[in-house]
C-alpha cells in the first residue's frame, strides 16, 4: 500500500488533485480493528476551471500516463483498487480539510478523522455503515466535544443518539 500512497502523493504534487485523504473502511482501519474491504476510497478535491463540469478524467489521464488503467469505477494502483471520490457535500468537504496527517510505512499521507468517518457513516446509513459506526464508537479514540459539535452542525445528533440507543 506504501507504493499506492506514493502515487497519490505524486498526483497531489503534480496538481492533478487539490488535496486528498484516505476515507472509507481503510481509513477506519487506522483507528479500529481491520475491516474487510476491497477498495481504497480516497476523497479528493478536483481542480476545476469555471464553467466546466467536475470530472475524474484528469486524474485517470495522469494515472494512465503513469501506467495505471481505470477499471470500472476504480483504478488499480500497484495492486490496490483505488476509488476516487470527489467531495460531494459540506460534510465530506470539511472531512477532507480536517484530515489528519499520518505516516504509513514512513510515507506521509492523510486520513479522515474518526469523528468525520462516524458522521459520514451516520449520514450514508447503509447497514454496513451503521455496523462500522458502532465499531468506531467502541474502539476509536475520539474527541467527544469535537464529535458532538460536528454532529450538531450537520444535523446528525439524532441519528447518533438512535445508534447508541440500539447498541444498548
Amino acid at each position: 500500500m506504501k507504493q499506492t500512497i506514493e502515487v497519490l502523493n505524486q498526483l497531489e504534487r503534480d496538481g492533478v488533485v487539490g488535496r486528498y485523504a484516505i476515507a472509507g473502511a481503510i481509513a477506519a482501519t487506522f483507528y479500529i480493528e481491520p475491516l474487510p474491504t476491497y477498495d481504497l476510497d480516497v476523497f479528493v478535491i478536483i481542480k476545476t476551471t469555471p464553467g466546466k463540469l467536475i470530472s475524474l478524467t484528469p486524474i485517470y489521464a495522469r494515472l494512465k500516463e503513469l501506467g495505471f488503467k481505470p477499471h470500472r469505477e476504480h483504478v488499480v494502483i500497484h495492486g490496490v483498487p483505488v476509488q476516487f471520490i470527489p467531495v460531494y457535500d459540506r460534510l465530506s468537504e470539511e472531512a477532507l480539510s480536517e484530515a489528519r496527517a499520518v505516516e504509513y510505512d514512513h510515507t506521509p499521507t492523510r486520513v479522515i478523522r474518526p469523528e468525520y468517518l462516524l458522521a459520514i457513516m451516520l449520514q450514508t446509513a447503509r447497514p454496513k455503515d451503521l455496523v462500522r459506526a458502532r465499531l468506531l464508537a467502541e474502539q476509536a479514540k475520539m474527541d467527544a466535544a469535537y464529535l458532538s459539535k460536528l454532529l450538531r452542525r450537520h444535523g446528525l445528533t439524532r441519528d447518533w443518539r438512535e445508534l447508541k440507543r440500539r447498541a444498548r
Binding site: F30, H78, V80, Q139, A140
Partner: protein, 63 residues
C-alpha cells in the same frame, strides 16, 4: 433456565474474550492491520469461490 446457566456463563466469557481480542487488533500498527485486511480478502474470496459465487481479487501487494 437454570439448565443453561453454565452455558451462558461460558458464552459471556467467550464474548468478553472476543471483545478483548478486537481491542488488541485495533491497537496494532496500521501496517499490520492492512496485512490482516488482505488476509480477510483472501479468506472471503476463497469461501465465495468455493461456493460458486463471484469474488473480487484480493490485493496483490506486500502489505
Amino acid at each position: 433456565m437454570k439448565r443453561y446457566a453454565q452455558q451462558r456463563k461460558l458464552l459471556n466469557r467467550l464474548i468478553r474474550a472476543k471483545a478483548a481480542r478486537r481491542r488488541e487488533l485495533a491497537a496494532l500498527p496500521v501496517e499490520e492491520k492492512i496485512g490482516i485486511v488482505i488476509a480477510l480478502q483472501r479468506l472471503q474470496s476463497g469461501i465465495l469461490r468455493s461456493t460458486g459465487r463471484r469474488s473480487r481479487s484480493p490485493w496483490r501487494i506486500a502489505p
